[in-house]
């Protein structure tokens, strides 16, 4: 199969096109939210959120099937986002507390799923996603929710960046951090909910933090971070999907698409990392060699 065929052939199939649409919407919003996660250093809190949403997904799934899954995840995510915002403001918080509370919620989710027949198969589906069996209705849901999250973040982008770089100045300027934190954590939660059914609970974090980290490696210009992150995650998602498809069609190996997408993201990250290291080394080496000569 030639390169163009590798990149485009699979997407004429409806289920591949649906997966691509979902991933395109997710990449756009995850790129933008991911840069803010990176700038604010919210990686750990995002990880907590992905764990906290899991019991909602599990309860919704057990009660209402796939439609219930969405509703349950939404409720859990919004509650968790509010709780996290408040925990982060109270005096007690440590990263240990966040880890403990959200791992406990994750345990509740696993116990709920374990009541089901075919426990192992369903657990695997919830944890690692089912990108290729997304229904048309779910595509619409994903795009709408991603749109809401994107709107919430872009409308407050300037304030979010201000808070990320100069928290004291932000307070002094009279802004209200609570509302802003709620908005950002809420947007992260929405991304987690939509991405959970696509790439699975355990792989969502990759979508949230890898694009932002890559953007930080690629450019120092603040407003370039957002488009770089979104474009990078879009391209990586596309390549990952195409790769998974090619593997299953040409080689007969059934690879989970969520995993190939996330691994493509991570490989892209390491390419960017090595390139950055090389560039830094060349730049650092140059003045010294000039002095020597």
């Amino acid at each position: 199969m030639d390169l163009l065929g590798f990149l485009f052939d699979g997407f004429s199939l409806p289920f591949m096109a649906r997966a691509a649409a979902v991933l395109a919407a997710l990449s756009l919003v995850a790129g933008v939210v991911g840069v803010l996660v990176n700038l604010r250093g919210l990686e750990f809190i995002s990880d907590g959120l992905t764990h906290a949403v899991f019991p909602g997904i599990a309860v919704g799934f057990v009660w209402g099937g796939r439609e219930g899954l969405f509703l349950g995840a939404m409720v859990a995510a919004l509650v968790a986002a509010a709780a996290l915002t408040l925990i982060a403001r109270s005096a007690v918080p440590t990263d240990a507390a966040i880890a403990v509370v959200f791992t406990a919620m994750f345990s509740i989710g696993i116990i709920v799923v374990s009541r089901e027949t075919n426990y192992a198969g369903q657990l695997q589906q919830l944890l690692f996603g089912r990108l290729l069996t997304i229904s048309p209705a779910e595509v619409v849901q994903t795009i709408v929710i991603c749109g809401v999250a994107l709107l919430a973040v872009t409308l407050t982008a300037k304030e979010q960046v201000f808070r990320a770089f100069d928290n004291t100045g932000f307070d002094a300027a009279g802004y209200r951090p609570l509302l802003l934190d709620l908005l950002l954590n809420g947007a992260i939660a929405l991304v987690v909910v939509t991405a959970s059914s696509a790439v699975g609970t355990l792989l969502v974090l990759g979508l949230l933090i890898v694009p932002g980290a890559v953007a930080r490696l690629v450019t120092q210009r603040l407003w370039l971070l957002f488009p770089v992150a979104a474009v990078f995650s879009g391209v990586a998602a596309w390549l990952g999907l195409a790769f998974g498809f090619a593997a299953s069609v040409d080689l007969g190996i059934d690879l989970p698409s969520g995993a190939t997408v996330v691994l493509t993201l991570v490989s892209g990250y390491f390419v960017a990392l090595l390139a950055r290291l090389a560039v830094d080394r060349v730049r650092a080496g140059r003045p010294r060699s000039e002095v020597a000569s």
């Binding site: 990176n38 250093g41 990686e43 750990f44 995002s46 990880d47 007690v92 440590t94 990263d95 240990a96 507390a97 966040i98 880890a99 403990v100 509370v101 791992t103 406990a104 994750f106 345990s107 509740i108 696993i110 116990i111 374990s114 192992a120 657990l123 695997q124 944890l127 690692f128 355990l202 792989l203 974090l205 990759g206 933090i209 890898v210 980290a213 930080r216 490696l217 190996i253 059934d254 690879l255 989970p256 969520g258 995993a259 190939t260 996330v262 691994l263 991570v266 990250y269 990392l273 950055r276 290291l277 830094d280």
Partner: protein
């Protein structure tokens, strides 16, 4: 010894080890690091199962590789340790599930790596955990003072003429060994609860560091045993039951501290 008694024994040993090393994790603020490490053992375990090697060995090899990669990322400007942990964490899960998909005939239940299955631990698992526990206890007994000094006052520690990296390396090694040995019992996802909760609970109520180091292993063992008993009584998976018990201890400690207003506030 029946399998249930063996599970109880494993719960006591692994709980004590997790609690003791958890004190290091919590006091040195390495929770996200430890969490990334627990998640990253997953591909190592799957890989070892595919190759027919010992599971803890595979997990240990993966952990060492992970620590190296995280150190590399942490050194690059504009990245930092949180990014390193997060990236390694998702990469670990993606890699693990991919390796599993490449080997559909794998004889082992992969989700037992994720949420643990303490009822099927082997004698080797328990012996390994006991060995690591002995090492951890002797480290705390012989080097406890130095570790505490470097944890609470790095600058003072350096100024007093100590070198920092041996302590850092030692605590990394202990954390890694604990993560690897705790995995059969509570799995890659839930291990962090058993590691962080007992120590976090102990820290809330203790007024001295020594008390934390003594109380955390006790709480850890208790969480393990109560979790296994609950798992049998209520017919739920053991890994989540243990994690939830440990988390309950933490929440109880939080409540007791809130209401015990007479207690002097611990800074840190």
């Amino acid at each position: 010894m029946g399998f249930f008694e063996q599970a109880l024994l494993a719960a006591v040993v692994i709980g004590a080890l997790s609690g003791l090393v958890g004190a290091l994790v919590v006091l040195r603020r390495r929770t996200f690091f430890a969490q990334a490490l627990t998640h990253a053992t997953f591909p190592g375990a799957v890989g070892a199962a595919v190759l027919g090697l010992s599971i803890p060995l595979g997990a240990a090899v993966a952990s060492v590789a992970i620590v190296g990669i995280m150190a590399l990322i942490g050194r690059v400007g504009r990245q930092g340790s949180q990014v390193a942990s997060g990236i390694v964490l998702t990469a670990g899960f993606a890699l693990g599930v991919l390796v599993q998909a490449l080997n559909p005939t794998l004889p082992v239940q992969v989700d037992s790596f994720l949420v643990g299955s303490i009822l099927t631990v082997t004698n080797g698992d328990v012996l390994l955990a006991a060995g690591v526990l002995v090492v951890a206890v002797s480290v705390v007994v012989f080097l406890g003072k130095e570790i505490l000094f470097s944890t609470f006052d790095v600058d003072g520690f350096r100024a007093a003429g100590y070198r920092e990296w041996p302590i850092e390396l030692l605590s990394l090694a202990l954390i890694t060994a604990t993560v690897v040995t705790a995995m059969p019992a509570v799995g890659a996802i839930l291990a962090i609860a058993l590691i962080a909760a007992p120590a976090a609970a102990a820290r809330l109520l203790a007024s001295r560091a020594t008390q934390i180091v003594v109380a955390a292993p006790l709480i850890g063992s208790a969480s393990g045993v109560i979790g296994v008993l609950l798992s049998r009584a209520l017919d739920v998976p053991a890994g989540p039951a243990i994690a939830l018990t440990a988390a309950t201890f933490f929440l109880l400690a939080l409540g007791m501290r809130r209401f015990g207003a007479s207690r002097i506030r611990l800074r840190a």
